[in-house]
Symmetry: C2
Subunit: 144 residues, 2 copies
DNA sequence: GTGATTGCAAATCTTTTGCACTAAA
DNA sequence: TTTAGTGCAAAAGATTTGCAATCAC
């Protein structure tokens, strides 16, 4: 691994607190990824996009570690996975209750706040089963 | 390809009509797959499951052809793709408006008729976009 | 015949893993 | 120290593709 001077202060402090809050050891790589992921704007990212972002920042994080870290963050509840088209896994930095627009042409995901969709009726959950989550994806396309 | 006696009559007749109806050339392999897929019961299948079903029937359909055929059927509107967990693509033989239960533990998909979910409110579609489809997945788990 | 389809194997793409090395506690 | 985390390269899965042989029309 490339030696990298240790950053102190600024965004890294809050990232460190975030990770320690969920018992994830705050390594340099995880802090770099967390600082980018949790910068305040909600993101929908793939492993490859995360890797590109780290490369841009010359953060020195290998692709294997990107995957390990995204999975570790997901297990800790910091991220949520979204499967849209089977091509690749998206990770959502917004773990609150909400839904998504998906543009079929651009492959772009956008949040829909939970308050924007209300159900008048939901089906009975089969016996012996419990409802975990309701996923809603509104597939859209550029209007012609 | 293994020589196989050509079947006539029964399920194959309706499959042939089905394929010809959407301008898909009814080859032996496509007929075998269609006869299984469209036997009347709604199915959610993966490529691997389809391959296993063809093997069971000694239908002699290679995995490459399974993929080609499932994709061809999807393009013709005979099947619909569903992405649930990023692991693999599911193909749904029910192309009508409907939704799904997904059991996180078993990986099993079940249909929810369109009439069982009603929306009291949907978000405004962004300018310049048109709504193509609303996907709803109710994620469930064995209740403890 | 002629162009579409098939099968095989190789290629591609995303994601995971084994293992020696390094860093956090 | 001791254990968890990292990087690399190899492995694993799912899916696609190039191409010669074969089939549908």
């Amino acid at each position: 691994m490339k030696p990298e001077r240790k950053k102190r202060g600024g965004k890294y402090d809050s990232s460190a607190a975030l990770l320690q809050g969920v018992c994830v050891r705050p390594t340099r790589q995880r802090l770099a990824l967390a600082a980018w992921l949790f910068d305040g704007s909600d993101k929908h990212v793939t492993a490859e996009e995360s890797s590109a972002a780290m490369r841009r920042r010359r953060a020195g994080v290998s692709l294997a570690t990107i995957y390990n870290t995204l999975n570790a963050f997901t297990e800790s509840g910091l991220l949520r996975q979204i499967a849209i088209d089977g091509a690749q896994i998206y990770f959502d930095t917004n773990t609150n209750d909400h839904y998504h627009f998906f543009d079929e042409k651009t492959g772009h995901l956008t949040d829909i706040p939970a308050s924007s969709i209300r159900f008048a009726q939901l089906p009975k959950i089969p016996d012996g089963k419990a409802l975990l989550r309701v996923d809603v994806v509104l597939r859209v396309q550029r209007a012609r």
